[in-house]
Amino acid sequence: MSIQSVMSHDHKRCDDLFSNAEQLVSKKLWDEAQLSLKDFCHSLLSHFEHEENTLFPAFENATGMQGGPTMMMRHEHGQMRELLNEMEIAAEQHNQARYLGLSETLLILMQQHNMKEEQILYPMIDKECGEQADELTASIRNTINSDVA
């Protein structure tokens, strides 16, 4: 299984969790919304960790590129982490307008980030590190399986 298909699939899973939390906030079902947001944060953050700790270093080692596309992806992960923190605070404070403003911003940031990964970076990683694809994606597949279970 290619890195692109495993990681793109995980993006979709995160999108579903994001939409679920947003829907609950829009209905002001705060208890459920906070739980749902927690699921989303957990999934998104572990997706970032797999990339930052496994996939990106493998690509950087294979190509010798340290300051290229992976640096920009790490920077955007940082921006999304900040927005997630703010969303958690807004959810705790039951501040619907603030939450929806932040989640809309996160959505666009996340989607344009995913697009760049799915269409450009993952195919590049598959090309450079394709032989290790199973090994590189093993932990993320385990995470997905345990989350779904």
């Binding site: 994001f18 947003e22 596309p69 809309e104 911003t105 760049k116």
Partner: protein, 431 residues
């Protein structure tokens, strides 16, 4: 593999796309003022000077203006290929293009050929610089996504549109050059279907799933759609160019091409509606309503066109109203309401995230332009659209209300965009 040219940067400078986005409503406002001054007769014939000026204010002044700015912004993200020296090139293109459109439309409206001549001297170079820069960037694009193919076809169509438009405008401006009126329909087809529609569909493949969290478009539609439309346009152009030679014997061929084109576009709209209905992001907003209205109008304009061809009724003005203001303006307006607030947030984040205020001091997208403001403008847009369609049938009653509604609507869009930029400047100044 050489990754040196790869650009995954987030965006060019904020001024690059925004100068196009802010200028576009100004031309739309000029179009509304022209409607008011010209009066209901403007709907009588598409060949009138005011009608030609109005069409170009809408297509060059608004639609193409926004699409140019959007391409500077979207190419690095969608295709992994930024335009080299984007800030400088966009400044030059924007200045020449804005001046060119203003002179050109003024020349058309007043039939003063000296203005058209002057306009062509700046307008054609502006479009050529843009086309060369974007064509080079798309040629080098790293992504093999269907969007990139669609964009390449749309840009090829803009090359054809410019060539045909250049021939027509030259004929209009210089007495010594013959005015080849019979290529006008071909020029319009490449502009409306080739440039505007294919570009919007190419962008839809990316932004509909992205903004509304829907499933992806089916592979078959992404792979073949733009190519098939391009082939239809070639066939359509050939049947129109050789119209007199073909006479009535090949009328069926023309109708077959039009039927295929209509089916393709209606299929695209149906697929998009299907995806939107099944979207995961249940919370709807003005941007989505704009998209849905726009797509509905694309289908309607195609049905009207097919009807007019088989019944030999000239509905060109009505089709233009539904296509331009109903389809293209709606979709572009909806896109602006996603892109502009996001750019404001993104660029503020770049500048403010590492100050003592941190991210909490940065307005979110909904604070840049509120959901309510966007919805109000959407309702006004729909009212203006309905009034204009009514004005086509009953100009005496509905023409001036329609023109006033557009004037208010486009002024409101302009105000919303200006307020977004003012908020950006205020946030920067407060640090």
């Amino acid at each position: 593999m050489n990754y040196n040219q790869l650009s995954l940067e987030q965006a060019p400078t904020i001024g690059t796309p925004l100068r196009f986005f802010l200028t576009a409503p100004v031309f739309a406002i000029a179009a509304a003022l022209l409607l008011l001054f010209a009066g209901p007769d403007i709907f009588q014939s598409r060949w009138q000077p005011e009608t030609l000026a109005l069409t170009h204010l809408l297509t060059l002044g608004f639609i193409t203006m926004v699409m140019m700015g959007a391409l500077f912004q979207l190419l690095p993200v969608l295709a992994g290929a930024s335009i080299p020296k984007a800030a400088t090139i966009s400044t030059i293109i924007h200045a020449l293009y804005s001046l060119g459109v203003a002179l050109f439309t003024f020349g058309l409206a007043t039939t003063k050929t000296s203005f058209i001549k002057l306009a062509l001297v700046v307008l054609i170079p502006a479009l050529l610089i843009f086309l060369i820069a974007v064509s080079m960037s798309l040629f080098r694009a790293q992504s093999s996504h269907a969007s990139v193919t669609g964009m390449r076809i749309a840009i090829a169509s803009l090359w054809i549109t410019l060539a045909l438009g250049g021939i027509l405008a030259t004929g209009q401006a210089w007495d010594s050059v013959p005015l080849l009126r019979h290529i006008t329909s071909i020029h319009i087809a490449w502009a409306s279907i080739g440039w505007v529609t294919i570009m919007i569909t190419a962008i839809a493949y990316q932004v509909v799933p992205m903004f509304q969290v829907t499933n992806d478009y089916p592979d078959i539609s992404k792979r073949y759609f733009s190519r098939l439309i391009f082939i239809c346009l070639l066939g359509w152009s050939a049947t129109h160019f050789f119209e007199s030679e073909l006479a009535n014997n090949y009328d069926w061929l023309n109708q077959l091409v039009i039927f295929t084109l209509c089916c393709l576009l209606i299929a695209f709209v149906s697929i998009t509606f299907h995806l939107q209905i099944q979207r995961k992001k249940r919370l709807a907003d003005a941007s989505m309503y704009f998209w849905m209205t726009g797509l509905g109008c694309l289908s309607l304009s195609m049905l009207l066109y097919f009807y007019s061809e088989i019944t030999r009724h000239d509905l060109s003005i009505l089709i233009a109203i539904v296509f331009l203001t109903g389809f293209a303006f709606s979709v572009i307006n909806g896109m602006l309401y996603k892109i502009v607030p996001f750019l404001v947030w993104l660029h503020l984040h770049r500048k403010l995230a590492f100050t003592n205020k941190g991210i909490s001091g940065i307005p979110t997208m909904n604070e840049v332009i509120s959901r309510e403001k966007m919805l109000h403008q959407y309702y006004l847009h729909v009212v203006a659209l309905i009034l204009t369609v009514l004005a086509y049938f009953m100009p005496a009653v509905f023409f001036y209300p329609a023109a006033l509604a557009w004037l208010t609507n486009w002024s409101l869009l302009f105000v919303h965009l200006v307020q977004a930029i003012q908020l950006y400047k205020t946030c920067l100044a407060s640090t």
